[in-house]
Amino acid sequence: MTKTISAGRMALSALAGLGFAFHAEAQSLPPLPEAIKSAGLLKAGVRCDQPPYGYKDETGKFAGVETDMAIQIATWAFGSADKIELTCVTAENRIPQLNGKKVDLLIATLGVTPERARVVDFSKPYRWGGSDMLVAKDSPIKKLDDVAGKTVIMLKGSTQAKWFEDTMPKVESLRLNTASDALQSLKQGRGDAYTHDAATLIVIAAKDPSLRLVGEPFAISDAAVGVRKNEAAWLAYVDAALDRMKAEGLYAKWVEKWIPAEIRPFYTDAFTKPKPTAR
């Protein structure tokens, strides 16, 4: 009797397995647009200074979750993880790089904003991102409002630059080009706080005991893949690829691969949970 039951269970799980296989089959991607296909490889813009999303590891190789997303799309599109040309983009030059056709998509910590939507098309969001501030360990700044009348370091063209301009215009800003310039300037005391994506700051704070996070999230926004305007077929392909990554549980795998366990929960939430509410 017990034997029959377990046989039945096995049959059931085999069926379930089949069902899963069938489901995965349903995730097949739309045809690759001719313009992309004819290039023979995927030209993707990723960040090189934004661990754990996009950065270069100690040996100078492209690394990070978003980099893996780009490689995955190339694998699906061209059948090989080598069929990709990765380009380092910055907050400031990423949209010009895309619209100047240097790259065909951006997976580059690109937050969805109305200003950007005017010049590029966004895929569906693949994660959310919030902002935070990094300050010196002994800084009197404990919450967001404490920076009133102080100097805040930020990157040109960043979500935070826009947010401060709209929300706290009285805050003095020091706007620099790269995250490393900003960090250097914070440590040299050229500003009282350095604001950036929380995800980036968490990594820095975990490594550097002289700094701490303020910990009040603000300017929560969706991150999405950017493609040029009026490339509907390509956008549809990217959207389908993002769905497939989600369905196959790839984000969790990449988060585990690139992010140390002690800071992992934030990133797991960002990729898999709905975004929280904040200012």
């Binding site: 400031e92 949209i95 005017r118 063209g157 826009k162 020091l174 310039d181 300037s185």
Partner: protein, 220 residues
């Protein structure tokens, strides 16, 4: 995307604030670099012991390294040595040091044209080397060197755009900062090019007036 004059009009106050900072930092640096040039050239021509070697070294270092590297050294490097200058003064210092090296050579070039005879005449009249430099050689050298000094000053004015890299909110910074938010690339770069052009033409105009005035004694 067509050219949007309305957008430029909206950004005009920000551009003017940037322009004002560009003018301040450039004007100050031009004056200081000419002072550096005069002192350095005097040291070279009067062959002040030790110092003249220092000046030669300074000119070579500045002329043979990129301005951007010098700027980053001053802004990010000097604090490590205990000297933390503000954005503005980091900018003035780097532009002054950069242009100063060229001004030394410009003025020294002018001094080369002051003939040996004049020098001997001055000394035989009992002028000290310093008074000879101040009363005879320098005024003549500046006249001759003026066009190349103007060249260097124009370069300095244009190179002030490098200061956007350290976050000084001068003209180019304003343009790049706005572009990174609003993506009006053509409007902003066209606007700052026109403004730089107007600035340089103004500078050239005053320099040619000065040249005319300085040449008064030689006109018949």
């Amino acid at each position: 995307m067509e050219f949007d004059f309305g957008y430029l009009a909206a950004q005009w106050p920000a551009l003017m604030r940037g322009l004002w900072l560009t003018i301040q930092v450039s004007a100050l640096s031009i004056v200081l670099s000419i002072a550096v040039g005069l002192c350095g050239a005097a040291v070279r021509v009067l062959q002040v012991p030790v110092l003249d070697k220092v000046v030669v070294g300074y000119v070579e270092v500045i002329r043979n390294t990129p301005l951007l590297a010098q700027l980053f050294f001053i802004f990010y490097g000097l604090p490590g040595l205990g000297l933390r200058l503000s954005l503005f003064w980091s900018g003035v210092l780097s532009l002054t040091l950069w242009a100063g090296a060229y001004q030394i050579e410009n003025i020294r070039g002018g001094l080369e044209t002051v003939g040996k005879g004049l020098r001997e005449a001055a000394f035989s009249l009992g002028l000290s080397p310093w008074r000879f430099f101040r009363l005879v050689a320098a005024p003549m050298a500046v006249r001759v060197g003026l066009p190349s000094m103007l060249n260097t000053s124009i370069s300095l004015l244009k190179n002030s755009s490098y200061l956007q890299a350290i976050g000084l909110a001068e003209l180019t910074f304003v343009a790049i900062d706005r572009i990174s938010m609003d993506f009006r690339t053509i409007e902003m770069f066209a606007a700052i090019c026109v403004i730089y052009l107007a600035l340089v033409l103004t500078l050239s105009f005053f320099a040619s007036r000065l040249e005319y005035r300085l040449n008064t004694p030689f006109r018949t």
